[in-house]
Symmetry: C2
């Protein structure tokens, strides 16, 4: 099976010019077929603040009211996505910016209120359309995916970029040998949180359960690894958690 690399990069990287320049260079250098999935939360928070809209977060997740939905649609779908596309084009990558609404790539439904928390216009993914992505990718196109989906009823919904990356990887698994790279602010999953060089090179599911039990893995890394194992279970070949400056597939923590 032909290889494909899906790189998910967060807002902190795409909003820092030096890091972004490096990332685009490294991404352009990845051989073969590829997909870029981006965040943009910090920029959305800034634009919202400039518009006098308060950013409300619960457990690190954004509450997306109607005003905030407009902001993320502007920032993720417009500002961040189109600048990435233009810069990748300049780097020789035939990029195509996509939200989930475009050619119905990712359909979602509005998250129901749970435990009293209403996340607002947030979409939980129902399905990603691997076939149409496969057709585009095989035509030499590199999708650049914004963290927005749609409900099929005419509404854009805000969706976590890690989830977009995971769902895209799973949807492409029937067509390609998929490597999913999650860029992270550390070199990988650390065996000692105080030692940035204590990268665990490979994690099995048993390791993960043990690390969770003994507290080595905690906080935001748990849902990230849950996503990773979920992707592996659905046919993704390998998931890598690594620095945005080390996306060559040779660094970070590998989940198989």
């Amino acid at each position: 099976m032909e290889k494909i690399t899906i790189v998910k990069v967060g807002g902190a990287v795409v909003e820092d010019e030096a890091q972004l320049t490096q990332l685009l260079k490294d991404f352009a250098a990845i051989e073969g077929k590829k997909v870029l999935v981006h965040g943009g939360g910090r920029r959305a928070t800034k634009v919202a603040a400039a518009l006098g809209i308060e950013s409300k977060m619960v457990n690190g997740r954004r509450i997306t009211d109607a005003d905030m939905l407009e902001v993320v649609t502007m920032v993720y779908g417009g500002l961040v996505n189109k600048n990435l596309v233009a810069r990748l084009q300049a780097a020789g990558v035939n990029a195509l910016g996509l939200t989930g609404a475009d050619i119905d790539v990712i359909r979602s439904h509005k998250r129901p209120i749970k435990d009293g928390i209403d996340f607002g216009f947030v979409g939980d993914v129902e399905k990603a359309n691997g076939q149409i992505l496969h057709t585009l990718i095989n035509a030499g196109i590199t999708p650049v995916m914004a963290p927005l989906t749609h409900d099929g009823q005419g509404h854009i919904l805000n969706t976590n970029a890690d989830t977009i990356a995971g769902e895209t990887a799973k949807a492409l698994a029937p067509y390609y040998d998929v490597t999913l790279i999650y860029c992270f602010e550390k070199k990988g999953v650390l065996s000692n949180p105080d030692d940035d060089n204590s990268v665990i090179s490979e994690i099995t599911r048993e390791d993960f359960e043990r690390y969770k039990a003994d507290g080595t893995v905690a906080g935001g890394m748990i849902p990230k690894l849950d996503n990773a194992f979920d992707a592996i279970d659905t046919g993704v070949k390998r998931v890598i958690i690594t620095l945005a400056t080390a996306i060559d597939g040779q660094h970070g923590t590998v989940i198989r």
Copy 2:
């Protein structure tokens, strides 16, 4: 040759809920292949104002400084484009939002300073890629085009939506029997500006020259008709100037 209809609709329509609902319904009802090109200037002006950015216009054209470029990239490429795409998807149209940067569809260069006027980050179109559009359209996809282009050096540029529509029509002329519909706030070109029902049903180039000479056609209609005749000269079959509520090809002024 297979028929295709390209509809250009301005900001006033896409920003008015009642008009937009009608337009989307009418656009979805157009049989066969189609493309939607949209503006969004009024919304950009509003968002800019909310961000404390002043909109500067010269001869009805926006001066696009760095801050305003961010605003139009957000509003045209994100807010307006993605909502149109989501709503067309709900109406059964397999819409794909595009700026000129996406799959390098429309390349432009920054407009040079002329007569002392620096329009800023405004792109004059070099070429529209009819072949890639043809490939997408033949795959059942309906492009929804924002008035943004790119210079191939990594920069988004602001480009007039009428121009995007005209260049797209010309680029598709080798592949299709193209009808280009410019939505307008009047029923068409009027023989008496004071009588909204005095629609001229068809204009030849000789008519146009005569109307210009006698003042029947004036102001913003002149560049619109210049664009229309330019499109006809490049192989577009017919250009129609009509109300946004009358895009069925049976109304308005026809230029052949």
